[in-house]
């Protein structure tokens, strides 16, 4: 019974919140609003999945939101400058992935703690994004095919949903069903033991941090397609949201451990909460307070496990 609550309690609480808003928050259940929630949840899930990979190897990535913003302005800037959108999207994906790889190299080869490394690359990415744009946003009337990445529908279902489910499925598969996944887990759980068992723990950390950059790139391209514009701080809000989603996810399914299913449900809960609170007439600043509470409460729930991990820098 206690095991059940530990595993599914948070998800059930999230369901209760959802039902509550469905009944009591005006306009919450409208199809336009549900689409809004799902869109937010898509960007959030994809970004948070990358953070999950990094945290699985016991490394923090505080740069993913700014890497996403940088990738967004690179993509948007190239398109605005006349580059074909597939190339522009690849460039955005590439720059964020390179940022993640740089994090990985700094952490594993030069041994700068990830907290510091990614704080640094976050600032650098932010600076470069402002440099590229000169502080203003790229806007334009862009190729409808590009925009349809985020706005299109497939059999009546928004394409974005497929991106979200696709990323979640692949990440779940990698973490749960493959050797790479258990090696990353073992690296995060007991680095020395994993190393002595012949696992390339540095490479696992490098991969975890790089994947966090890759997902930042994917989310960035979708964000640009969704807004048909790109600005230097456009993904900034996703940092705390994403971290909260992952930490909330660690209170579910595999308590105390970063896990993709938990991250996904965590992202859904945070998207629903944020949206519902606004519709409920709660002041905007209440969202920040809510995220802060979620972060601290989640960590205190799974504190015993986190003590030995990344947060005990």
């Amino acid at each position: 019974m206690r095991g059940f609550v530990a595993k599914y309690g948070t998800a059930l609480a999230g369901l209760a919140v959802l039902v509550f808003f469905l009944f009591f928050a005006r306009n919450f259940a409208s199809s336009a609003n549900i689409l809004n929630i799902l869109k937010h949840a898509t960007f959030l899930t994809i970004l948070a999945t990358g953070f999950t990979f990094a945290l699985l190897t016991s490394e923090l990535d505080l740069s993913f939101a700014n890497l996403a913003s940088l990738a967004a302005v690179v993509t948007g800037g190239l398109i605005a400058g006349g580059t074909a959108w597939p190339l522009a999207a690849l460039a955005g994906l590439g720059i964020a992935s390179a940022g993640g790889l740089a994090n990985g190299i700094l952490v594993t080869a030069i041994k700068v703690p990830s907290l510091i490394t990614t704080l640094g690359t976050a600032a650098i990415a932010n600076g470069i994004a402002f440099m590229i744009t000169g502080g203003v946003a790229f806007v334009g009337r862009w190729d409808p095919l590009f925009l349809s990445l985020a706005r299109g529908k497939f059999f009546g279902v928004p394409v974005l949903i497929f991106f979200m489910l696709g990323v979640v499925f692949i990440a779940w598969f990698v973490t749960k069903q493959t050797k790479l996944g258990v090696h990353m887990l073992a690296t995060g759980e007991a680095q020395e033991a994993a190393h002595r068992a012949g696992i390339a723990t540095s490479r696992m950390k490098l991969i975890g941090l790089t994947l966090s950059g890759v997902t930042a790139g994917i989310a960035a391209v979708l964000l640009v397609a969704n807004l048909s514009s790109a600005a230097p701080q456009m993904a900034g809000d996703y940092l705390l949201n994403g971290i909260a989603a992952v930490l909330l996810g660690m209170t579910m399914f595999e308590p105390g451990r970063p896990n993709v299913a938990g991250t996904f449900v965590g992202a859904l809960i945070i998207s629903v909460l944020g949206n519902g609170l606004v519709l409920f007439g709660a002041p905007y600043y209440l969202q920040d307070i809510m995220l802060g509470v979620i972060v601290i409460a989640s960590v205190s729930v799974s504190a015993s496990v986190l003590k030995k991990a990344a947060f005990s820098v």
């Binding site: 069903q177 759980e189 033991a193 012949g198 105390g256």
Partner: protein, 252 residues
């Protein structure tokens, strides 16, 4: 008997600390070989060289007469040497079978994609444990919930998984009670019956005289004595360690 592992003139310094000043260790196939010496004598350091955790500053290591370079744990495992370290060997939060197969997971193919073969790993884990006469029902139990003796069994299974011919155990009974110590002694005997060579580091004179065939005593980073345990009582052994007797005591 054939020599399965030999270390000659091993040197290792940590900054100004000379942990090993030319230590020798010769282990014969199929024996249980104890490595003794006071705190700081260099036992763990010597084992780290043999298990690829540290690289020597000097000296030679040979397996079955062939010179080897064990520059990382993987190389040592490939040479048939598995080490069970005092701590840090297992991932406490992970399951029994995940620990046994850590770093060498079994895979099957799903639509051409290699995926983990959990049921095979679980079945094999059971087999290894049965071969050690160790009883654990749930292979998905977390290692942190096992007794000290059971953890040693899990660690040994990992070594067996690697098809290790030499299993090194660094103070396997240090933190254990009387009954669990007996359990580990039985595990070691069982390994010997299965033809595995065991190197045992221990401060317990009783364990050494109970289970070891030969003993090597280190002192200040050098090999002091290497002899058979025949006729050796725990009291005599501790005298040799403390007073550093000479090889004249060696009956063979």
């Amino acid at each position: 008997m054939t020599e399965i592992l030999s270390v000659h003139g091993a040197k290792k310094s940590y900054g100004a600390v000379k942990a090993l000043r030319g230590a020798d260790l010769v282990v014969e196939e199929g024996e249980v070989h104890a490595l003794c010496g006071d705190n700081g004598a260099g036992k763990s350091t010597l084992i780290k060289l043999v298990s690829g955790v540290e690289n020597p500053d000097g000296g030679e290591i040979a397996v079955r007469g062939e010179k080897v370079r064990l520059s990382n744990p993987h190389a040592a495992l490939a040479a048939g040497i598995a080490t069970i370290h005092q701590d840090l060997g297992l991932a406490p939060g992970m399951m029994i079978y995940q620990n046994i197969f850590m770093g060498s997971e079994l895979q099957k193919h799903l639509l051409g994609i290699p995926v983990l073969d959990r049921s095979a790993m679980i079945a094999k884990s059971q087999e290894f444990l049965v071969s050690l006469n160790s009883v654990m029902r749930d292979m998905k139990a977390r290692v942190e919930n096992l007794s000290g003796g059971q953890r040693q069994a899990v660690a040994i299974c990992r070594a067996l998984r690697w098809k290790a011919e030499i299993i090194i155990m660094d103070e396997p009974t240090a933190a254990l009670g009387v009954r669990e110590t007996e359990e580990v002694i039985k595990l070691i005997r069982r390994l010997k019956e299965n033809g595995v060579t065991v190197i045992l580091i221990s401060h317990s004179m009783h364990d050494v005289t109970a289970v070891a065939d030969r003993v090597t005593i280190l002192r200040n980073g050098r090999t002091q004595i290497s002899r058979s345990t025949a006729g050796l009582t725990p009291e005599k052994l501790s005298e040799l360690i403390v007073e550093g007797g000479t090889d004249e005591d060696d009956p063979d």
